[in-house]
């Protein structure tokens, strides 16, 4: 008997707003515990939630990009349960009437083919705080994260492997980052997934009983937990047992899923519409406003780069890998560079700098315009390629702009007679090398070029030097 694994996902992404979902506290990760909290997100008596407009706008962008039907009216509901990281004793979510229905995620199968994972809905909700286990049999609660704005993307169940489940989450992450809705960084905790796993005999139609694994925050754990849990279920079923619908814990270290002790299998959340929050109206104009400000999708950008601008696909990939990279590349072109130049210098210099210095493009000190100015100087033969690269490097080190340093840089010497003089001087000093070159050892050209550069104290135009060397050596 062969088995098929079926997976459904609930992906939680924290939206990248400045303030929280229902209060004007700063939405910030990584600060001192209980540093960004107010009566609202801490659940003090008398406090009331007030919806963040920017969160709704981001939610709309996500729904547009995932092809959902946005509901003109939606409502917030209270999900009631007790937990120390949930100070109000309820979470404000959307249960009965979410703001978006349907939609789909495109993801690659293991064999590389494109597949579609249909969505049930997307809704907005607030996040809870964090509990950290201390050594002394206590837990320490930090409410900083409380009431951060979340999007919950709920998918339909679909047959897929663990790798493919991770791919679904990866695809979702790319879109959310691309459209500026969420930083979606699993390590920082602003993207996590709950995974629902069930198995059924291949060819069978009805879905098996599913179990849930919550709060997975790495692609590896998503993949492995699906693999391990489906294997466990198959083992149980083959031995004649039944699967209990339950939430299980993913134990990363031992790579097993475990029963959760003392937890209700299907708690009653007693959902009811939150009487403190008005109905959310989303109008056509709101949707249009977001749609028109959405950036070019990765797919259309790829077409533009490869087909229109003739950039080699392999080169295009690195520019496409982040939205900011493509934006920077476009800015370099807007500053007057050709696509080929922009591509070469972006990959050869900018990406290299970011890599070496371990920087994000956000923190990169050089602007596209100033880099373009340097590149133009090189292309107009006023400075050498090496000089150009040196200027950029120096600019980062000194903190001065490339254009400033460029202004101080003397142009390379390209005058024929001057160069010829230096070349002749070097040729006269190294007759043996000249002989070897004439005899066929072309490698030594580099040595001679270097000698001319030295003689000129680096001011000679190396390209022209090489041309003159070639000519003079061949002539005599």
């Amino acid at each position: 008997m062969t088995w098929q694994t079926v997976v459904g996902l609930e992906i939680h992404a924290q939206m990248s707003t400045d303030t929280k979902m229902f209060c004007a506290c700063v939405r910030e990760t990584g600060s001192e515990a209980n540093h960004n909290i107010c009566p609202v997100c801490t659940g003090w008596p008398g406090a009331l939630p007030v919806l963040n407009a920017a969160a709704v706008r981001r939610a709309i962008r996500a729904a547009i990009s995932l092809g959902c039907q946005i509901q003109p009216e939606s409502r917030f509901d209270r999900k009631n349960y007790f937990y120390p990281d949930l100070p109000k004793g309820y979470q404000i979510s959307q249960f009965y009437r979410p703001y978006a229905l349907g939609g789909e995620i495109h993801f690659p199968r293991e064999d590389g083919t494109d597949a579609v994972l249909p969505l049930v809905r997307i809704h907005m909700e607030e996040d809870a705080g964090k509990s950290i286990h201390a050594d002394d049999q206590t837990s320490r609660i930090d409410l900083n994260r409380c009431s951060s704005p979340l999007l919950e993307i709920v998918t339909e169940p679909l047959p897929m492997s663990g790798v493919e489940a991770a791919n679904c989450v990866r695809s979702t992450r790319e879109i959310l980052r691309w459209i500026g809705v969420s930083d979606a960084d699993m390590e920082k905790g602003n993207l996590r997934a709950d995974v629902n796993v069930s198995v059924r005999p291949t060819g069978s139609d009805p879905l098996g009983t599913r179990t849930e694994l919550k709060n997975l925050n790495s692609f590896v754990s998503i993949q492995r937990s699906v693999e391990v849990e489906s294997a466990r279920q198959i083992q149980v079923l083959e031995a004649g047992g039944v699967i209990r619908q339950e939430t299980r814990l993913w134990n990363q270290e031992d790579e097993v899923t475990e029963e959760m002790r003392g937890k209700e299998d299907s708690p009653d959340y007693r959902y009811f519409p939150d009487p403190d929050l008005p109905v959310v109206i989303i109008e056509e104009t709101d949707i249009e406003r977001e749609r028109s400000s959405l950036p070019e999708t990765p797919a259309s950008r790829r077409v533009r780069l490869v087909e229109q601008l003739q950039i080699a696909p392999r080169e295009a990939e690195s520019i496409l890998s982040r939205r900011e990279y493509g934006d920077f590349f476009d800015a370099m072109m807007a500053a007057g560079l050709s696509a080929a130049s922009a591509s070469n210098w972006f990959r050869g210099e900018v990406l290299r700098h970011l890599n070496e210095l371990e920087l994000n493009l956000d923190d990169y000190p050089l602007t596209a315009e100033s880099i373009a100015a340097v590149v133009k100087s090189v292309e107009e033969d006023r400075i050498s390629v090496a000089k150009g690269r040196e200027i950029l490097q120096k600019s980062i080190a000194d903190g001065r702009s490339p254009t400033e340093i460029l202004a101080e840089t003397s142009e390379q010497v390209s005058d024929e007679s001057t160069l010829k003089a230096w070349v002749q001087g070097v040729l006269e000093s190294h007759p043996d090398v000249v002989d070897k070159i004439r005899a066929g050892d072309a490698r030594l050209m580099g040595f001679l070029t270097g000698q001319v550069m030295q003689a000129s104290k680096g001011a000679a135009n190396p390209r022209k030097v090489q041309q003159i060397l070639q000519r003079l050596i061949q002539q005599s």
């Binding site: 008398g46 120390p84 004793g89 609660i141 009653d268 008005p278």
Partner: protein, 487 residues
């Protein structure tokens, strides 16, 4: 040696005191000193006062006097004393909703309504006693002790804003903030012979009101007369960015009320005869003054109390979940979390609160939700539509506030059904979100106060208050003070 202060008479309304101060017959400081004296003596005697803020109040009074001397008063409430119910957060003192579970809670911030009033120069002098978490109709469930009715100390002042109403009923000069979810300002106002007003839902910000039934709650003024309530409303009302359900309402019409409908269900067999007679007499008096009196029936009113109980307790069960002993609230130390929750809440909440949380949890629970909560919401809409329709045929509705007179302390506290019966005439206004004004309209044979209420269409708050003022020009029930200290 300066002449002794000429303080206003004990029964003086806020409006009268404003004029007194304006005529420099005493200073705000002298007024506040006198008022603090009342609070500390009679106020505490009847259990109405939980905390006073003498230092800060005197400082605020001094500032008021300075402004007055410079000709820069902030408005008619500048220098006027007030109190706030224990379930309204204030920067000063504690705001514990009269519950052990919140004992000592310091809000560090004024409720928006309080902030606006202080910004208008009103002087916060103390916090008034109330039923625990505003759940009650007799002020017998408070962790700060029972409040007595100033008209008969063996009887209840009503609830849940028993302290506020008792203070308003026994002394003038000031106004008091309470709250009303199912009658909690109107019923005690009626029991204590004070004027209490519940605004249109959303008119006054609920930020800083410790939530009980969110879709029913409002912060309300109780004072000596309708004009006092109007002055207070004027300052408090209006949209607050910290309360998404708060509204700035333009009053629907400036035409004074001229047609009033007596609500038939307010005069049925369950209503004490003396009360029914007093309200009918009031209607005749209005008719004598040119008001057209008709009679109307409110549909579904027999279901109103049930509807209210379900919705209020459902919302309360959720609103009170935050008192879990984890981040606020009294905690019973425990080895494990579950027992921490259970014992803290069991010990910290009184029995009435526990009962309501239980009912509220039940009506929302799977399998019962449809029959109770969903159904109650639908009935609520029918009640709301019904009252809206009747209000198209008249300007206001008139009926008693309470089916019975103030009852002896201890008589009903062990019988929740008997206690819930207090609400039958008042819950409709909260369910429909309409404004309602409780006005003294006489005394029964035992000398106990009787109150009547006017209800108007949503947004007609100022119109109702204007009608109340006219009523109070034609009559003088509202001027009486216990111990014969009348006007």
């Amino acid at each position: 040696m300066s002449s002794p202060p000429s303080l206003p008479p004990r029964h003086a309304t806020v409006g009268e005191v404003t004029r007194w101060l304006g005529e420099h017959r005493c200073s705000a400081r002298q007024l506040i000193d006198g008022y603090l004296d009342f609070l500390e003596h009679l106020g505490r005697e009847i259990g109405a006062v939980v905390e006073t803020f003498p230092e800060q109040a005197r400082a605020a009074a001094d500032q008021s006097d300075q402004r007055r001397a410079a000709g820069e008063i902030l408005g008619p409430l500048d220098g006027i004393p007030f109190t706030a119910k224990m379930n309204i957060t204030t920067e000063q003192g504690t705001s514990d909703a009269s519950s052990s579970i919140l004992k000592g809670f310091r809000a560090h911030e004024d409720a928006t309504a309080v902030r606006r009033l202080r910004a208008a120069g009103a002087v916060l002098t103390g916090k008034s006693n109330c039923d625990e978490f505003a759940m009650g109709a007799s002020n017998e469930t408070s962790s700060h002790g029972v409040v007595s009715n100033p008209w008969d100390r063996s009887r209840v002042p009503g609830g849940s804003s028993g302290g506020a109403a008792a203070l308003a009923g026994s002394h003038g000069w000031a106004f008091h903030l309470g709250s009303d979810t199912g009658g909690s300002i109107r019923q005690p106002a009626a029991f204590c012979s004070a004027t209490g007003f519940k605004p249109t839902w959303g008119r006054v910000s609920r930020r800083g009101l410790i939530a009980f039934g969110s879709s029913l709650d409002q912060i309300c003024p109780v004072a000596r007369d309708s004009e006092d309530c109007r002055q207070v409303l004027q300052v408090m009302e209006g949209h607050d960015p910290l309360d998404a359900t708060s509204l700035t309402l333009d009053d629907e019409t400036v035409q004074p009320i001229s047609r009033v409908a007596l609500v038939s269900e307010g005069f049925g067999p369950a209503i004490d005869e003396q009360i029914a007679t007093a309200v009918q007499t009031a209607a005749s008096q209005m008719a004598d003054q040119g008001i057209e009196i008709i009679e109307r029936s409110l549909p579904h009113i027999e279901a109103a109390n049930a509807c209210y109980q379900v919705i209020a307790t459902a919302e309360a069960s959720s609103n009170l979940a935050r008192y879990d002993g984890v981040h606020i609230g009294a905690r019973e130390s425990s080895k494990d979390l579950q027992s921490l929750y259970e014992t803290s809440r069991h010990r910290g909440f009184g029995s009435e609160v526990r009962r309501r949380i239980l009912l509220g949890t039940f009506v929302l629970s799977a399998g019962y939700r449809e029959a109770y909560y969903t159904r109650a919401q639908a009935v609520r809409d029918l009640i709301r539509e019904g009252i809206d329709q009747v209000l198209e045929e008249c300007d206001a509705l008139l009926l008693p506030v309470s089916p019975f007179a103030p009852f002896p302390i201890g008589e009903r506290i062990d019988d929740p059904i008997a206690l819930y019966a207090c609400d039958i005439l008042t819950v409709t206004a909260n369910l429909a979100g309409v404004p309602a004004l409780a006005l003294p309209c006489g005394f029964d044979a035992s000398g106990l106060p009787i109150g009547m209420q006017l209800m108007g269409a949503r947004g007609s708050d100022h119109r109702l208050l204007e009608m109340g003022s006219r009523w109070q020009q034609w009559t003088d029930h509202h001027r009486a003070l216990p111990d014969g200290g009348a006007a």
